[in-house]
């Protein structure tokens, strides 16, 4: 396999990384809202949050992507396929991240929150200075895990026609008749990306406030 082909794969992997990073960030924002719904005292909100999580964890991502890609034009929203891909990945990862966040917030020791109330912190201050940092510290490893899962899952957005790493590999394999070499190389690129993410995640984790030294 020539280096030219490998370069093409590397270029396509930029799409893989970009789509994954954007989806993780949007998914994180959505997951904050969903986890707030889960922890809400309003039964309706709680139920809606649970249905959201159950649906997006219970339906294969491929089906979600196809559904979103075909549904958006029907309800009159014509979007480029890249938007459909990001929406699909974000909603899916939001469901998983929301469960993690809920667990994180639930494990904040109630004594800490009570003592903060005693010294007169406002609910906003308690959230910003106590609950959020502790929950983030607790859920960070799960977040890195989720980032790796989304990087792998982004291979599925090839079905909505985005030329990311997997789609590029598919096209090249078809035109060069070297499927073994090309898919193995694509696999190695995924492996390298995930390895870097895991490594960076470990470094950041150790530098977060409250990390064991």
């Amino acid at each position: 396999m020539s280096t030219k082909l490998f370069e093409l794969l590397l270029q396509a992997s930029i799409y893989t990384v970009t789509i994954s990073v954007v989806s993780i960030l949007i998914g994180f924002a959505i997951s904050i809202i969903v986890s707030a719904m889960l922890l809400s005292r309003q039964r309706l909100f709680m139920l809606l949050g649970q249905v959201f999580i159950s649906f997006f964890r219970g339906v294969p991502l491929l089906v979600q992507l196809l559904l979103i890609y075909n549904l958006l034009p029907v309800i009159g929203i014509n979007v480029p396929s890249i938007v459909a891909a990001v929406v699909g990945l974000s909603l899916c990862t939001a469901a998983y991240q929301a469960e993690n966040l809920r667990g994180g917030f639930a494990s904040v020791p109630s004594g800490l929150v009570e003592s903060a109330e005693m010294v007169g912190l406002t609910p906003m201050q308690i959230f910003r200075r106590i609950k959020a940092p502790i929950a983030l510290r607790l859920t960070f490893p799960a977040l890195v895990n989720e980032a790796i899962l989304i990087l792998k899952a982004s291979s599925l957005v090839s079905v909505v026609g985005i030329v990311e790493l997997t789609r590029m590999a598919q096209d090249l394999a078809g035109s060069t008749f070297l499927p073994l070499e090309i898919f193995a190389s694509a696999g190695l690129i995924y492996l390298a990306i995930n390895w870097i993410v895991a490594l960076a995640g470990g470094l950041i984790e150790r530098s977060l406030p409250g990390a064991p030294r």
Binding site: K152, A173, Y190
Partner: protein
């Protein structure tokens, strides 16, 4: 926007056949993955350091690359090394190997949770490796590996949808085809999503039921 679900239900025989293929592939692959994963975990435990390292690398590769790439390697790359498989066998093989990597890690963590002293005691009284696995490791770790195994089984069910890309005639492929013939994509995919959702919820519910039943009797004191 019209939403006419009857268009889909006029193709019930095809849908039933697709659902059947999905479920059979899922069950066969999940069982094969669990057995394969268990054997790998045992081999890593008793096969020496070199064996352990080699399998460690294979598992890292399988867990670090997308399933779609793996299935492409098996289906399109297979013929180049003399392994020509039809879509369904290729799908089952790919799904089993992918699942085995995760199952072997589940079993490995289960093995690790069994106190070392129990194994040493077994060796002391002269049990063979097979006996140690069957009489000490397996019973003691059962409760621990049940929940992650259930999780993995559900993940494998959802991965069967990916097999539609290599033209396995399972439910995703069937309903996509019906959707494009009838211009009823949304209806078809809606039915598909509901099918998977229901199957996942039912499986999860049955699994939890089995877990509580097993925990209630407490066969094993861990």
């Amino acid at each position: 926007m019209t939403f006419d679900i009857n268009v889909i239900f006029s193709h019930l025989p095809e849908i039933a056949s697709g659902a059947f293929v999905t479920i059979v592939i899922w069950i066969v692959a999940a069982l094969a993955a669990a057995v394969l994963g268990f054997l790998v975990a045992v081999a890593r435990r008793f096969g020496g350091v070199l064996f352990d390292r080699a399998f460690g690398i294979v598992i890292a590769v399988l867990r670090g690359t997308p399933f779609l790439i793996q299935i492409f390697l098996v289906y399109y790359g297979g013929p180049f090394v003399g392994l020509s498989l039809n879509p369904i066998p290729a799908g089952v093989v790919g799904l089993s190997i992918y699942g085995a990597a995760y199952f072997s890690e589940i079993f490995r963590s289960g093995f690790a949770a069994v106190p070392k002293g129990h194994i040493e005691a077994g060796l002391c009284v002269g049990l063979t490796h097979t006996q140690i696995v069957r009489r000490i490791l397996l019973p003691e770790m059962t409760m621990l590996v049940l929940p992650p195994s259930l999780n993995m089984t559900i993940i494998l069910m959802k991965e069967t949808a990916v097999l539609s890309i290599i033209t396995v005639p399972e439910l995703t492929a069937t309903l996509s085809a019906i959707g494009s013939q009838q211009y009823a994509f949304v209806e078809a995919l809606f039915v598909l999503a509901l099918f998977y959702w229901a199957l996942v919820e039912i499986t999860g519910w049955l699994g939890r039921l089995a877990e509580t039943k097993l925990t209630r009797f407490r066969f094993f004191n861990i």
